[in-house]
């Protein structure tokens, strides 16, 4: 049997890519939070050697794209993907059939506080929690998590950007007025600290919760808040029409709120997506552009009990570059 009859719509949803080479596809392996053990690498390598051309692309979303797979081998590759899917605990209805959708992209994350001194939380763990809550889904959502306001993962270029924050706790009795925090905040962050009567005053309006003061403090006068906080930026994007950075929606939010807001946004997108969108694919940011922020906000915060310290932006205005 030489001829190929494949439904490309299904192929794409099954996380394969139609490539520029006839009869050749690529398999896209999702790695939530960009964190995996070495076993996954070995399993990816085995597929690349046996069914691919030996080449693997590390994707911008922190997955693997196994190149050069024959379109005839997709079922076999899906079987081979099963241990990876189980290893990474990806939601799946039918084992051995690969990924159930591809619209909702891999949830990416910087290395976070597992490794990085600046990271304010375990980014991969939160990424996995979000992945568990949202995948599989055909709606086109991009989510990224970053440990601190440095935003190394470029969360602001995503539909949802989650930026770790800590509320610095100051014990004046432990402070020796060495100014390390003031210098650190000025040089590395937003210059939110100054000294009055040899003790530190934090400008709470300015503070971005990056935690630099805490890492610079030599006496533990500054420590992190027990609660972990997040800044949620929304509807950043790249693309042909209007690339833009995401804007702040919630400040000092908690994990539960963020998960609920994302799930609510899926409901919103399902309600308002353009039924004539090509391939049923309309980015959520463009849906909000059509429907309006206020309507989105109504849906996003539906049933959400916000922590008292969370700041919700009344309105959000995006800028960016307009090509049309």
């Amino acid at each position: 049997m030489m001829h190929v009859d494949v439904n490309t719509k299904k192929l794409k949803k099954n996380a394969f890519r139609v490539t520029k080479h006839r009869d050749i596809v690529a398999s896209r392996v999702r790695v939530p939070g960009g964190a995996c053990n070495a076993e996954v690498l070995a399993q990816v390598a085995a597929i690349a050697r046996e069914y691919g051309n030996g080449q693997v692309h590390i994707t911008t979303r922190q997955g693997f794209e196994i190149e050069g797979i024959s379109i005839r081998d997709m079922a076999k590759v899906n079987e081979k993907l099963q241990p990876i899917i189980e290893n990474l605990e990806i939601n799946q209805e039918t084992p051995g059939t690969g990924y159930a959708s591809s619209g909702t992209r891999n949830v990416s994350a910087c290395v976070g506080n597992r490794v990085c001194p600046f990271g304010n939380y375990n980014t991969a763990a939160f990424a996995k929690r979000i992945e568990k809550a949202i995948f599989p889904n055909d709606l086109h959502f991009k989510i990224a998590l970053t440990g601190c306001a440095n935003d190394c993962i470029k969360a602001r270029m995503h539909d949802f950007g989650i930026i770790g924050m800590t509320e610095p706790q100051y014990d004046p009795n432990r402070c020796v007025s060495c100014s390390a925090c003031i210098k650190g905040c000025d040089q590395l962050s937003v210059d939110a600290l100054h000294m009055e009567n040899y003790k530190i005053v934090r400008n709470t309006e300015k503070c971005v919760g990056c935690g630099v003061c805490v890492t610079k403090c030599p006496t533990r006068a500054w420590t992190r808040s027990r609660k972990k906080y997040y800044r949620l930026t929304i509807m950043g994007r790249t693309g042909k029409k209007n690339p833009r950075l995401g804007e702040d929606f919630l400040l000092w939010a908690d994990e539960d709120t963020i998960v609920k807001v994302i799930l609510n946004t899926y409901k919103f997108a399902k309600e308002y997506i353009d039924p004539k969108a090509p391939g049923g694919k309309e980015h959520v940011g463009y849906i909000i552009d059509r429907v309006g922020f206020k309507e989105f906000k109504k849906w996003a915060l539906d049933g959400v009990e916000l922590p008292p310290e969370t700041i919700v932006k009344d309105n959000v205005y995006w800028s960016g570059i307009y090509f049309r």
């Binding site: 432990r174 020796v176 390390a180 009567n197 040899y198 030599p218 006496t219 533990r220 006068a221």
Partner: protein
């Protein structure tokens, strides 16, 4: 002779002690470390003997239990001055290295010219329980410094499977245990006999050691954060701060605050002059004070080999390696 204290007996003992004493011991501060989701062990008032951390060395020394980091020593307004109320008595649990450091603090604050009024007040009302060391920890070199054993303690303790083994030598302290019945026992005092690190102490450094090139590399490496001083049980430097209250500048207070010879401002004097601007010079000042200059004056080194400065340095500057280098230059007693 001592006693074996079970949980219930210990909680009664602490209740008795708390009537007069703040009990300070190394305890875990969860999430209070420098980095996210890291803890530290430092001194604080305990509410239960279970809180005492035995299986780790405290990141910060016992010093803050005796010398507050930032201490108001007088209030003033117009023509009057008031000294704060006397602080509560304190009972401090500490290891042999720190108890040897106490001797250094006493030397500086009590036996080096006029007695320090504030230190003396706290010190006279402080009692010390030696914590047995069943193991040597990372970067400990107490054996090299001869500080692995200690004298002049008011009590001794180490944990056992049957409870806390506690000897109360001080008569006044024993009265707090009088109404509690606990089995008598006699156990050996636990102390470290060998460290992983054997550190040579330089003996005869050349006269020009201050200008030696060995210090140069630290100029570029040290960031002057002062952590080595703040964790050190023997650093005694402080600075004074006069504060005028913002709402009423006719009243204020004077504070005594820990100072660090590594941090900018330490050697500043009138006229904008600063003696040691270079971090290499500051490193030289600190290290030579710990192992040479103090010794020249008092007959024994200041450093007690607790290794905390080694463990805390964010730039991985090894004080032990520095002593090795100095010994290569000046010879040492272990040779």
């Amino acid at each position: 002779m001592g006693n074996l204290w079970n949980k219930e007996a210990l909680s009664r003992l602490l209740e008795n002690l708390k009537k007069d004493y703040d009990v300070f011991a190394p305890r875990l501060y969860a999430g209070a470390g420098c980095y996210s989701d890291t803890d530290i062990v430092r001194y604080g008032i305990i509410e239960s003997f279970d809180e005492i951390v035995w299986d780790e060395k405290s990141d910060y020394s016992f010093k803050e239990a005796l010398l507050p980091i930032s201490d108001t020593i007088m209030y003033f307004t117009e023509n009057s001055v008031k000294i704060p109320e006397e602080k509560r008595k304190r009972l401090i649990f500490l290891r042999a290295c720190d108890l040897n450091a106490l001797k250094r603090l006493d030397e500086i604050y009590l036996h080096n010219g006029p007695e320090d009024f504030y230190y003396k007040n706290i010190r006279e009302n402080a009692r010390f329980i030696l914590m047995g060391c069943s193991q040597s920890f990372k970067s400990c070199f107490c054996v090299s410094m001869g500080t692995n054993q200690a004298e002049n303690y008011d009590g001794y303790a180490h944990p056992t499977e049957e409870g806390l083994y506690l000897e109360l030598k001080d008569e006044a302290l024993s009265t707090y245990a009088e109404d509690i019945s606990v089995p008598r026992d006699s156990q050996e005092i636990q102390y470290v006999k060998e460290n992983e690190e054997t550190v040579p102490i330089p003996e005869t450094l050349p006269e020009n050691i201050a200008s030696h090139e060995v210090w140069k590399e630290y100029s570029g490496r040290c960031i002057g954060c002062g952590r080595c001083n703040f964790v050190c049980p023997t650093c005694t430097c402080f600075t004074m701060q006069d504060i005028f209250y913002r709402d009423n500048e006719n009243a204020g207070e004077r504070r005594r605050v820990w100072a660090s010879c590594q941090v900018d401002g330490y050697s500043d004097i009138a006229g904008g002059i600063s003696f040691r601007k270079d971090q290499g010079e500051r490193m030289r000042f600190k290290v030579l004070h710990k192992i040479q200059n103090y010794k020249n004056r008092f007959g024994y080194p200041m450093c007690v080999g607790c290794g905390r400065c080694e463990n805390v340095c964010p730039e991985y500057i090894s004080y032990i390696e520095c002593l090795n280098k100095l010994s290569a230059i000046g010879g040492n007693s272990h040779e």
